[in-house]
Amino acid sequence: MVEAKALVKRFGDFEAVRGIDVEVRRGEAFGFLGPNGAGKSSTMRMIASVSPRTDGDLKVLGMDPNIDGPRIRARLGVVPQQDNLDNELTVRQNLQVYGRYFGLSRAHVRRKADELMEFAQLSDRAEHEVEPLSGGMKRRLTIARALVNDPELLLLDEPTTGLDPQARHLLWDRLFRLKAQGVTLIVTTHYMDEAEQLCDRLVVMDGGRIVAEGSPAELILRYSTREVVELRFAPGEEVPADRVADLADRVEVLPDRLLLYTAAGESALEQVHQRGVRPLSSLVRRSTLEDVFLRLTGRTLVD
């Protein structure tokens, strides 16, 4: 669906994307994980065929966006980072008007609008204006709008940023359904739980480069241990890293926390206590993509 080779995007002197290779296959859910400013959105905009590449090769649906932009966009669905719905139109009008831009007939967009409002659980708001809707509803409407042309490839830029947990889960559920219908998804996110939930395969981006690639499970296996012991200390208190360093495969020192990477968390924690180290609180958990990112970049995803 998407094939990028040595893809580069520069804005003046600033190099947002520094030569990345990506391949997205039909039917999969593919993720770009990384902190703000990693180059995820720039990459998405190039795939969406609204932003010309500076260098390298890019094929979307087998076509070159520089030549066939409109033909590619006709078959894409785009959910931008910020909702850009028409606030002064109704929910139904937003879907119908937008559908027409894809060359669809009036009868078709009427039918499709009903179907999509059902899908996005907005049927009872059909004749409401968009402006007063909640953030979650607007987001669902933006996604519904992106589906009006039955896209083969759906691009979602930070789909759940700013939503409450319930709204996020509802949204994820809708995305799973789409995937089950065979829609290829590309998602950018700086939430590791979102990436783990949604993505079959993902790349970790940092500073415009891809630093790792694989399925969430593969990445965790490759770059982290099975379990992590988190020791939290009072702010200002010295973190006793060297007293416990030998208990784990690897230790990460954060301002108020110590992370011990080990295959057996409980026994490591027991030994920590035996050595007389007394953290404010402790926790044994499974490794996540957050740990992978920390390992790869030395930084956390969300500050």
């Binding site: 804005f11 039909r26 039917g27 969406a48 609204v50 932003s51 010309p52 932009g69 409109p70 033909r71 966009r73 006709a74 078959r75 894409l76 785009v78 931008p80 910020q82 850009n84 719905l85 028409d86 606030n87 002064e88 139109l89 009008q93 119908q96 008007v97 937008y98 027409r100 831009y101 894809f102 060359g103 669809l104 078709h108 042309n149 039955d150 896209p151 083969e152 219908q181 065979g182 829609v183």
Partner: protein
């Protein structure tokens, strides 16, 4: 399982027209306040200036031997049309890029920035024709028109407005702040033009040293054409000259706007 998209590329004019359709969906919800402000406001001017103030103005050489209301009725339409056109091409265009971001939403579809621009200009023109018609009709019982040339005045108004809409749209497309420069456009261009470009009195009253300011203002060219099509007294050659001025203004504005639309939407 595989999905096949129903989306298709839309031909150039079709894309622009689909934008008009979108504006129309919006207009159907908000037409009342619009018709009032755009169609009936110039009527208030006609009543105050044409009938009220005009009652003190004797028909003479300056008015071409006509009563004052007949003299200013066509020019008031053109002047209002120009103000509408500039208004519709400032904040609404900036909003498309910056606040509402509908231009960004639409250019994610097969519709191109050029079609978005085309849709805007066509829509502005239709609005001007509509507002001009409302004014023209409501002005009939007040005896504003001498003949059916009034219909052509509506067209001249739309043409003059469109000629100004294009460069102002280009300006809006290069505006990145909150649009404070638009106030300057209204205060230092539109307002003086309304007062001094031959709407209320012939520009021959302006000292020769400053008269060139009227000559380069699109409103004067529009006013001359508008009076010509209903009051007569306009020869073919000057008429073509006025049209050419407006056409060039439109062409330059539209080309610049097109360039700036692409520059801002394809980054």
């Amino acid at each position: 399982m595989s999905v096949e998209s129903t989306g298709r590329v839309v031909p150039a004019w079709r894309g622009a027209w689909l934008r008009v359709e979108g504006y129309w969906a919006w207009y159907r919800r908000y037409w009342k306040s619009n018709v009032y402000s755009t169609g009936l406001q110039p009527l208030l001017f006609l009543l105050a200036m044409g009938l009220g103030f005009g009652s003190q103005v004797p028909a003479g050489p300056a008015t071409g031997g006509l009563s004052y209301v007949h003299y200013i009725a066509p020019a008031l339409l053109v002047s209002a049309s120009l103000q509408n056109a500039v208004g519709e091409s400032t904040y609404p265009v900036l909003s498309g890029f910056k606040w509402q971001k509908d231009y960004l939403a639409v250019t994610a579809t097969p519709v191109t920035p050029g079609q978005v621009l085309g849709g805007h200009l066509i829509w502005v023109t239709l609005r001007l024709l509509l507002a001009g018609s409302v004014y023209a009709v409501v002005a009939v019982p007040f005896g504003a028109w001498l003949n059916a040339g009034a219909v052509l005045v509506v067209v001249v108004g739309a043409v003059t407005g469109l000629a100004c809409a294009a460069p102002v749209t280009a300006l809006a497309a290069t505006t990145y702040d909150e649009g404070t420069r638009f106030n300057g456009v209204f205060r230092f261009v539109v307002m003086p033009m309304t007062l001094f470009a031959g709407t209320f009195f012939p520009i021959e009253q302006i000292p020769p040293a400053l008269r060139w300011l009227a000559w380069i203002s699109p409103l004067w060219h529009g006013n001359e054409l508008a009076r010509g099509v209903t009051l007569g007294g306009l020869d073919l050659l000057p008429a073509l000259g006025h049209l050419a001025f407006l056409a060039v203004l439109f062409a330059v504005g539209a080309l610049l706007a097109r360039r700036y639309f692409y520059r801002r939407l394809v980054v």
